[in-house]
Subunit: 115 residues, 2 copies
Amino acid sequence: MLNQPSPLDLTFQALADPTRRALVERLVRGPASVSELAQPLDMSLPAVMQHLAVLESSGLVRSEKVGRVRTCRIDAAQLSLAEQWINQRRMEWVSRLDRLGQYLETLKDEDGEES
Amino acid sequence: MLNQPSPLDLTFQALADPTRRALVERLVRGPASVSELAQPLDMSLPAVMQHLAVLESSGLVRSEKVGRVRTCRIDAAQLSLAEQWINQRRMEWVSRLDRLGQYLETLKDEDGEES
């Protein structure tokens, strides 16, 4: 049974490529047209558009075509989704280290009482 | 020309799967053996080991075999790498919104002076 990829699957998948991360890095600074996005990249326009399609299907990027110009912008909510998942893991990790630290303190105190 | 995937590529790639995220969620709470990790998952042991191999090659998970038991633990530094990349984007995004807000305030002030 193959499940549909979740928004989080698609977001992390979209971020797993240096060109797509470069596009996100550019778009957090403001909207840009497809040709503006392609300009600094050393690849063909169709290749850039393919990367943008992956970013769009993940929800990280939205685009709108007015006349002949397609303008892309970031969807910060989708980026937050990935950020929240990772932050949550770090908080659990830190709280585990705190508990370990407290436990080690208890051992030290017990040791102190015995000696 | 195919470049080698970077640590960040491999980390986001590793997180782009719900089973691998479940393994990370379990391992941030403390080290576990492969069979402990497999126990709550509805899949074969070889499938779990394949997911663990992806996590290990990304650097998110490290494992050590003592006798017949392989124990896995999280490498929080690798998780931080992904977190930092996303946090950095959010900070740029927020600072852009701040600048936009300041600009809108300027427009409002100018409008106020004119009326």
